[in-house]
């Protein structure tokens, strides 16, 4: 079971959060066109490794968290808010 250290609430069980998927996807500009939006909505790197993702803390502060998690070991490397630039541990991109 994941324990996610919410920057606002402290460490909480995964059951308090709602997963919202890949956070490396940035919504294209309004006029970016079909291909850009298709990629935004449908295409996923789906890494086996460090993954940048959204979790909404619905059972706590209701803040949206950005999390760097390893999708195989489930280790958490970093947790922050939407504006934070988070990256995987150096040298370990996959």
């Amino acid at each position: 079971m994941l324990r996610i250290p919410c920057p606002w609430c402290g460490e909480r069980d995964e059951t308090e959060f709602r997963y919202r998927g890949d956070a490396s996807k940035v919504r294209p500009a309004a006029d970016a066109g079909l291909a850009a939006f298709t990629a935004y909505v449908y295409e996923r790197d789906n890494r086996c490794g460090w993954h940048l993702e959204w979790w909404l803390h619905v059972g706590g502060c209701r803040k949206l968290l950005k999390v760097v998690r390893h999708t195989l070991s489930h280790e958490l490397h970093a947790v922050g808010g939407p504006e934070d630039q988070l990256s995987p541990p150096p040298g370990l991109t996959r």
Binding site: C9, G10, R12, E16, G60, K63
Partner: protein, 197 residues
């Protein structure tokens, strides 16, 4: 060789006392970067807005913070909507106020075994070492959202009204082995009174 829980309590002394708290509940929230203004204007009204994860008690008001730049204020009941309207006006362009007096039920739980009973659903560590007096947190219990705050008189629990009865039923059945009694309603002022747990 035995767990603290196994030291059974004599049945006559209720482990848990539950009282409803009639209060106006208003949530105020600051727009980007305007939290200090809300703190000032609350301060001017005799209410200190606590930092995240804390509750602050004034004579007959109370403020707690479980969401960044948002505070829940509890005050004695006034004319419906009046408290919220007052705060809405006060917030001006620094933030907004929303009336939640009917949206949240407020209970006070007191007694020596409140923490033991709540550990049956609450995933937070309520050990006084970790969650001492003055702490506040939003979490989920028995699949229902709750806000908990440690007050001198016991534990304040806020929960959405539509599921309050469910939570109450759940609590009565869970707390039965510890002994649960209902007490007369308390006021916001009564919450801060020191009725040692």
């Amino acid at each position: 060789m035995s767990a603290p829980e196994s030291q059974s309590m004599p049945r006559e002394i209720p482990g848990i006392r539950l009282a409803s708290c009639a209060a106006d509940i208003v949530e105020i929230a600051a727009f980007h970067g305007r939290a200090p203004e809300l703190e000032n204007l609350a301060g001017a009204r005799g209410l200190e807005l606590p930092v995240l994860g804390r509750v602050a008690v004034a004579s007959d008001q109370l403020a707690l913070c479980v969401r960044p730049a948002r505070w829940l204020l509890l005050a004695p009941p006034a004319h419906p909507g009046a408290t919220a309207a007052h705060w809405q006006a006060a917030c001006g362009r620094a933030g907004g106020a929303v009336d939640l007096s009917s949206g949240l039920a407020a209970w006070r739980l007191a007694g020596p075994q409140v923490r033991d009973a709540l550990a049956r659903a609450c995933r937070l560590d309520l050990d006084p070492q970790v969650f001492p007096a003055g702490s506040a947190a939003a979490t989920v219990m028995a699949q229902v959202a709750v806000i908990l705050a440690v007050l001198p008189s016991g534990l304040l629990l806020l929960t959405p009204t539509s599921t309050a009865r469910h939570l109450r039923e759940w609590l009565s059945s869970t707390a039965k082995p510890f002994g649960l009694v209902s007490e007369a309603d308390v006021t916001v002022g009564g919450l801060s009174g020191d009725q040692a747990t």
